[in-house]
């Protein structure tokens, strides 16, 4: 299975991550909840729900980390009975991105951490430069979100490569 992306520059790093780390699900999203790439999901509604929850968890954990430690928590890990969830932030020239991934006993936390570091480095290198900054949630956020989901599930074409706003990637 191939990773599906809304922006072409995240495809190769994300595909390599899921191949190497052997995860079951992976989502690469903007902290606002807008999806950039996914692996393992078959329904747009599941991606939408996972993005919303992942963004909320990431934001909450960031604030909790600031309260407790003075800095946002960098990585979050939750071990379930059969599956485990790992959430971490990857800074890029287009702003921070959030990886949410779920894996089972085929992988391990150590492997996911190792390959997440490679993904983070690859995204930093692959990210096109940002030319404009804007609000995290601008006026057309909902239509951007829907367009991202449509691209991910093959209902729309990927946008042409070009500069984008740093805090709200166009999709």
């Amino acid at each position: 299975m191939r990773a599906r992306v809304a922006e072409a520059w995240v495809e190769a790093p994300l595909q390599r991550f899921v191949d190497d780390a052997r995860v079951q699900f992976a989502l690469l999203l903007h902290p606002s909840g807008q999806v950039l790439g996914q692996f393992g999901f078959t329904r747009a509604v599941d991606v939408m729900a996972a993005c919303a929850l992942g963004a909320a968890i990431h934001a909450s954990a960031g604030e909790l980390g600031k309260e407790l430690d003075g800095h946002p928590f960098r990585e979050l890990y939750h071990a379930g009975r059969d599956r485990q969830v790992f959430i971490a932030e990857a800074p890029t020239a287009r702003g921070a991105l959030v990886l949410l991934t779920a894996f089972d006993a085929e992988s391990s936390l150590g492997l996911v951490q190792v390959y997440f570091r490679e993904l983070r480095d690859a995204l930093q290198q692959a990210a096109p430069p940002a030319v404009e900054s804007g609000p995290a949630l601008d006026g057309n956020f909902e239509s951007d979100l829907n367009r991202s989901l449509a691209v991910l599930f093959g209902r729309a074409q990927q946008p042409a490569a070009g500069p984008a706003k740093s805090s709200s990637p166009s999709a």
């Binding site: 992988s107 391990s108 936390l109 492997l111």
Partner: protein, 114 residues
């Protein structure tokens, strides 16, 4: 800082040709304790060796060969050795000229006291 595992790892790293010794959680691939030479990425090596050991253990189990006694991987520039017990993997990285027999017995002795 000394931990309950420091002496166990020291007994292995004392062997000639040993580049490092790591105690790793088999399920998580997370380092419990490591004593490695500068330049070796303990976290990366630990996660990968734990995964390798786990798969070897599952493989021998599926083949009806019971548990893995001693895992040795020979590479161009050295050896990776691993033994495991109760969810922990003791991994050793060694130079090509290292005496694997001595390392093996040191690791098996260390495994008994884990």
């Amino acid at each position: 800082m000394s931990t309950p595992y420091t002496d166990v790892l020291s007994a292995v790293t004392r062997q000639r040709g040993v580049l490092g010794c790591l105690l790793v959680s088999e399920a998580d691939g997370i380092i419990v304790e490591a004593n490695v030479q500068v330049g070796i990425e303990a976290g990366v090596a630990g996660a990968l060796v734990a995964s390798l050991y786990r798969r070897a253990r599952l493989g021998t189990d599926a083949a009806g060969l019971a548990t893995v006694g001693f895992l040795q991987l020979e590479a161009e520039q050295g050896h990776v050795c691993a033994v495991g017990r109760d969810g922990l993997v003791l991994a050793t990285l060694a130079e090509p000229k290292a005496h694997i027999g001595l390392i093996r017995s040191a690791m098996l002795r260390a495994l008994e006291v884990l």
